[in-house]
Symmetry: C2
Subunit: 477 residues, 2 copies
């Protein structure tokens, strides 16, 4: 029986690629979300929320199959309907807008929450992660694209990040080139996907992949798009500009791509955005044109944005998006122009930690009231109530031990700032002892004689019971 | 081709039983969450977050099968692992605690987020809904149960609900009775499940279900537990007390159940909790003993709580929980005592709306800056920047129309408070017009002559451009 019981135990394991967040992490994530949401709301974006599960058609279009469903967390669910967890918000937003014809347009919305991807998990790369998106749906006005870029800048600044750059281009520039070179329109997305590798793989690799393909370092054969030499040369013209250090890439692009109407229109779009950003007084060192930006996703139609941290280039783009004027078409017999952007909360948190722009707090409580004498429980509970009424986050020790050292150790472990200590003696005299656990932890790292700092006034003080609230309010960090 | 294209369209539909939240709803939900989280943190609960997907074993134990998995949103996922969306937080919390032996105990945690159930959808009943949980894990101390109850009271009060009652009992009282009556321990959970129907079905129905079963109104046969008459009589003793109007149900219970050791212990537990709540100065009209409370879930072991809205009894319990001392056993070869409670955000929101304790705002923006003259865009954008810098949530009209009436109509639709209007004329004179759209909407409901209120000073005022920020700060709602 004992053996059988043991085999009934379930290992306390997470699914592969999933993660729990301890208070220390979750407190930081909540603070970040609060900052991000404040910036979004200050700039007129309204919160909305879509369902976490969607039909397979919504996420994959009408031509999905078992294989494409298995690339998501997809399954045949209740009522025999194929469904999957969302892997991003934009498709859900498109469905939401298409299904709510009364929604006033332009709709400026923000959404945050978990998305799910069956990626190979790695360091900092999880299968469930939190994204924050803003979108402006129902406007073809480039003021909207500019507002999105300006909000990206404002958000990162509000989070305390100083050295970053939002870089952007327009797909129209490349589309014009593709059309001019006589490359079939359906190959366009593949060309974008290959050029998207420029930063990581370099120009030679990209040119090879546009042509016959190449063999990578590990010996794997990467198939090419088999474009003709003249077609590849046309595309190379753009890469040449992109690779040139110039103060004015748009002028260079215009000179080279001037005969391609769609490219010229894309260049004009970017000039307009630059002008709006300047009028919005966004610092000019926080954004810039980069003609190599194309983004991997198929649905972008115009301006596309990426954001790099100057001190952590290895993070890649931490805030990305673009204009997607045809996405709502999946659901409606008409187009609704839209533009948006998305950032991953946890990658930003990792960056803030690495840049030392955030201090991780393990605890949101200010005070732990210890319990030395069970008979005095009414007194302890009165102290708790008083502190909470004054807006001081307070807990009473809930464990079963009466041992004060263990209670203090618990307070230290959870990271609370103060411990309140009182026995019959103190209560009789109208006194209470307050121990500054945070100060104690700091001093313990500095002094060698433990006995010494334990007695230090900064760490422990006996005060009038009536002064307790005032004392904590004055001394809390 | 046209036809084919049409068939490629995806209907913009949610899955059955799922829901999106528009800004109007989501703004209210965010405000509620903020209030709830403040109360939790003020009382020492720390935020944590567990994964939304769990292994089938974690949610269902080691003996799950295809059928029990299909009762959840369950499926065979990546790496051929059976998994499902969580249907509540408590099992995930138990896994989290079991898997994190370094977590300081007692752990006081809170979590909020979506849970998923394959229920039959109905009005206000969705398959994805947001729960808010608090738990104290690692304490057998009844101070913990009392803190949970006190926090339930504080949370509902902070949300503006006045007339509610947290009612509680202890499973130990009934366990003692079941043992005394010679009912096998494994039938205990079924007895609890039947007694849980008392409020809805009445005493006669419960007694029949404890015995041979009954036929309900629709003619459906409900099987009984086939307990013996003497066993049913023992249980009826408890129902008799519960049905008696008495100021002191615990004294009555003691008189009737005095010979059952476990019942007596349960009664003593409840007395202790009453004493703690009194010491915590929780208003005595906000809680009370109700010996009919048992809760349906199998894992409760001690005190169990429910909360009813006195003015909306049809809502059933809106905040429920209890002590579950053996749940972590699923994962560990030892017990960790725990107690917690849970509320559903959207049922609470529905109640707040019905009780008129919340005003729904459609918009978080204060000001819409209209664009009459594109050449003046730098001026409009300067106004936007100034307002935002002063902490006034502001957006500029992003649509493609120059028509002022349409822009104002848009502002009215999204529910923004002020519209700022300026043309070349105003800019030249250093003036700006501010239209109070909210006041306009209110007055439109009161006066008959539309022309009249359009001219009213309260609705529209032309002021000095330099006074704009001050004017909005002074007049915003």
């Amino acid at each position: 029986m004992g053996k059988k019981k043991k085999s009934n135990k379930v290992k306390p394991q997470l699914l592969k690629g999933f993660k729990d967040y301890t208070p220390k992490e979750q407190i930081a994530r909540e603070r970040m979300l609060s900052t991000i949401r404040s910036v979004f709301e200050m700039r007129g974006f309204l919160p909305y929320r879509t369902a976490a599960l969607e039909s397979a058609e919504t996420l994959l279009g009408s031509h999905y199959n078992e294989d494409s469903l298995a690339e998501l967390f997809g399954f045949c669910g209740p009522e025999e309907v194929d469904m999957a967890l969302r892997y991003e918000f934009t498709l859900s937003l498109a469905r939401f807008v298409a299904g709510n014809p009364d929604l006033p347009l332009p709709f400026r919305g923000y959404q945050y929450g978990p998305v799910f991807r069956v990626d190979k998990p790695g360091p900092g790369r999880y299968r469930e992660f939190t994204q924050c998106d803003i979108d402006i749906v129902g406007s073809a006005n480039l003021l909207a694209d500019s507002e999105i870029i300006a909000t990206m800048v404002a958000t990162l600044e509000a989070l305390g990040i100083e050295r970053f750059k939002v870089r952007f281009s327009s797909r129209r520039i490349l589309n014009g080139l593709i059309e001019f070179a006589g490359i079939p329109a359906e190959t366009g997305p593949d060309v974008m996907r290959v050029i998207d590798k420029l930063e990581k793989q370099g120009r030679e690799a990209v040119l090879q992949e546009l042509g016959p393909g190449r063999t990578d370092k590990s010996g794997d054969k990467i198939p090419g798009l088999n474009l003709g030499d003249s077609q590849i040369n046309e595309i190379d013209r753009l890469l040449t500009i992109a690779g040139t250090e110039t103060d004015n890439p748009l002028a260079a692009a215009e000179q080279l791509l001037g005969e391609m109407a769609e490219s010229v229109a894309g260049i004009a779009d970017l000039r307009q955005i630059l002008s709006h950003l300047s009028n919005m007084r966004v610092s000019s060192d926080k954004f810039g044109i980069d003609l190599t930006i194309v983004r991997g996703l198929g649905y972008y139609t115009g301006p596309v944005f990426e954001t790099n941290l100057l001190d952590l280039p290895e993070y890649g783009s931490i805030f990305s998006g673009g204009r997607y004027d045809n996405l709502v078409d999946r659901f409606l017999n008409r187009s609704i122009p839209a533009v948006g952007t998305s950032c991953g909360l946890d990658r930003l948190l990792a960056a803030l930690i690495e840049l030392e722009r955030i201090s991780l707090r393990p605890c949101t409580s200010d005070v732990l009231v210890t319990v030395m004498d069970r008979d005095k429980l009414p007194e302890y509970l009165r102290i708790v109530a008083e502190l909470r009424e004054a807006g001081i986050a307070t807990e009473i020790f809930q464990g079963d031990t009466k041992n004060l050292t263990k209670q203090i150790k618990y307070g230290d472990k959870i990271g609370v700032q103060f411990a309140v200590i009182a026995g019959s003696d103190e209560f009789d005299k109208g006194l209470v002892t307050v121990k500054n656990l945070s100060a104690g932890r700091e001093m313990a790292q500095q002094v060698e004689n433990r006995e010494e700092w334990l007695k230090a006034e900064e760490v422990q003080q006996t005060i009038e019971r009536a002064q307790l609230v005032e004392f904590v309010l004055k001394n809390r960090g």
